[in-house]
Symmetry: D3
Subunit: 161 residues, 6 copies
Amino acid sequence: MKVIFPGSFDPPTNGHLNVIERASRVFDEVEVVIGDNGEKTNLFSAEERKEFLEEITADIDNVKVAVTDSLIVDYAQKVGAKVMLRGVRALTDFGYEFELAMMNKSLYPEIEIMFMPTDPKYFVIRSSSVNELARMHGRVKGLVPPCVEEALKKKFKYPGA
Amino acid sequence: MKVIFPGSFDPPTNGHLNVIERASRVFDEVEVVIGDNGEKTNLFSAEERKEFLEEITADIDNVKVAVTDSLIVDYAQKVGAKVMLRGVRALTDFGYEFELAMMNKSLYPEIEIMFMPTDPKYFVIRSSSVNELARMHGRVKGLVPPCVEEALKKKFKYPGA
Amino acid sequence: MKVIFPGSFDPPTNGHLNVIERASRVFDEVEVVIGDNGEKTNLFSAEERKEFLEEITADIDNVKVAVTDSLIVDYAQKVGAKVMLRGVRALTDFGYEFELAMMNKSLYPEIEIMFMPTDPKYFVIRSSSVNELARMHGRVKGLVPPCVEEALKKKFKYPGA
Amino acid sequence: MKVIFPGSFDPPTNGHLNVIERASRVFDEVEVVIGDNGEKTNLFSAEERKEFLEEITADIDNVKVAVTDSLIVDYAQKVGAKVMLRGVRALTDFGYEFELAMMNKSLYPEIEIMFMPTDPKYFVIRSSSVNELARMHGRVKGLVPPCVEEALKKKFKYPGA
Amino acid sequence: MKVIFPGSFDPPTNGHLNVIERASRVFDEVEVVIGDNGEKTNLFSAEERKEFLEEITADIDNVKVAVTDSLIVDYAQKVGAKVMLRGVRALTDFGYEFELAMMNKSLYPEIEIMFMPTDPKYFVIRSSSVNELARMHGRVKGLVPPCVEEALKKKFKYPGA
Amino acid sequence: MKVIFPGSFDPPTNGHLNVIERASRVFDEVEVVIGDNGEKTNLFSAEERKEFLEEITADIDNVKVAVTDSLIVDYAQKVGAKVMLRGVRALTDFGYEFELAMMNKSLYPEIEIMFMPTDPKYFVIRSSSVNELARMHGRVKGLVPPCVEEALKKKFKYPGA
């Protein structure tokens, strides 16, 4: 079974990576899909985010990365994916995720949305918190993969980076 | 990929059936596992619950039903299941489910727990509510499969049943 | 418009009374309905609870008190009530109440369930907490109406009561 | 009893319409009040939103539509409304709604805020999600009334619209 | 400042121990208070629970252990404690804890209730889950201190224990 | 024990003041720390917020006020504070607060984050709601200290202010 794992991944965190790795052991094929709605002001471009994800999943054979500017359910239909995977980091995410799942299912009834709980070790990592932290030159090591850490340090001009 | 779908199913509801049907289209094999801890006072015996589940899943080839008196993670290990499936009915279930997932994962780190949201049509159905309803001779049609409806009416001596 | 305000009221608290008073100013007729399922072990009998409620609502013309051993939706249909009122004490009640509302609405689609938030002054009062408190001879004054306070002190043999 | 049903209705959804219809059967008079704070960047002007609401409630005698740039509690006092109605779509709304209710009650103690649960069929519809969906030319049929659907298609230049 | 840390500790877990250790570094004196209401059917007697807690806190100078059959706020007043500490394990505990805090504060207004978040490493451990696990001979090592582990194995007759 | 009480305090409310007063009775020294990240568009400047806080805490000997543009955990380390205090206003705050606490603890493991529940009397007051209210010339008396009330009336040009 092929699943898509959609998100903005701006940037991808170690929490995302953990979900991708675990999903790659459960499903035949995992397609990480970066939403590029062109409206939100992202920190990294869709192309940069794609490169991060490709680098950090390079060793996992059944994972590929794509970018889409379509509605995610339309993309799922186009590539013939029947399962959409969402990571959930404890309770705080779940209300929103559940609502999104129901909305997506009403648009594309054949799709199944499955939630995978984030490993507690990563459950406090949220892309937006990482960015806020980096903006103030906080320590992001361990929260994001090395290539993202490096990019954040460049972007926010860490002293000595 | 083989998944187990554990629960007490006392009795199985249309919400359970909905999750089983959808899971059978996502995973290669779904094993519905009835927990029989011998401690809780159940309405139906493990054997009766197994019969209900076998009857209502008779048409789905890749579903089978089992009973266990072991810890569910021990059972999963024994049968070589790497994924445990849980249905979640909106927010109210999730806190408990998340905690249970983390506990199970700490006991058997290789297992993945995946949550599948219940179809909104069924999200108000909980076995215990069905039983309470039946106890007062309420209308359970549409909440549970016909064989369970019949058994509840007998058990609670509905007038005319 | 006539509304019913169902509950177990074991015993009625000042929070209940506050909801009843406010509801009596919004609706033409408020019928407080004590559920007497005969299964739960209540602290006070349905008859005692009815007396408490009648005493504390004696001054409110459009409030009456009833006891039923039917499903509450069946009772609502029998007395022709189209609105069921529920008090909600902050977030902790709401998940359960919402689920109950949906279940009741699926059994009797014409009924409307409306939630009235408890006054913050009373929002920590729950009948079961009051009972636990009284069991240990805690101070229940201000949590329950005087007649209930007196009954609790007798029931739990407060020293000097 | 007259109630006001305040909101931004940007745009009104089928969920809003469902609450309005049901409220019109419970209360003598329902006044839908569009908040026009002039600060937020709305998709539709207050005037457009008023037209949508008037069109979709044209058949319900005891519903009228108004626009206000006052605080909603000041408006309520001005028109002599003692009850403010809010729709709640499952748990996710409730925390915010409860807080808002308490704030409004502290500003205008005589007002009663009542919550009406959204029909599960509509519970995933949120104006902002509808707008985001329409921005990407998703299918909004069934989520909003026909006149709103048409306006969204024009606004977002759906192909063939 | 002296704080009390009340609970049933049936049995104490590594999560409890973690809170006690951390609290002992924040406050001058920490009194762990075991509630012995004599009503609940506990797994371990108050005396056994006291022994567990004394053993596992033996090395922490400013911690002592007590048992009370009074209301906890009465006990706090008697021993002159102005702060009551509660551990909170993520969101699921908080609703209940908040309510309890408000109730206690209404009974004894001078008391301050402070919440200390459980270390994520321990946040899935709940005494009742540990007991249920032990009842089925599950692995409790790492969830509870060694002396409790041993007692659970004896109590539930683990094979080879 | 010295604690820091960080926040944006834009502006400080009576809820903040209530937490500060209570904390000053529990801890030896309370340092209120205003975050000045220079990014967010605040209503009041860091300097103005400092003046408000100094005025309203002038009578409490062991409270002082500071402004920082560092990460709060870096500031805590610099001033040698081992405890960070957060006020929590019922359930709605807690998910976010818990996540923030875990993030901060992962950056500075020696710090302890403690939550103090807001007095129910103040629990509906949020700085952003106060500002929105003031923007519409609503009544903010009782929600904020007199000096803040005056400043809000000037800022938003209340008629007669």
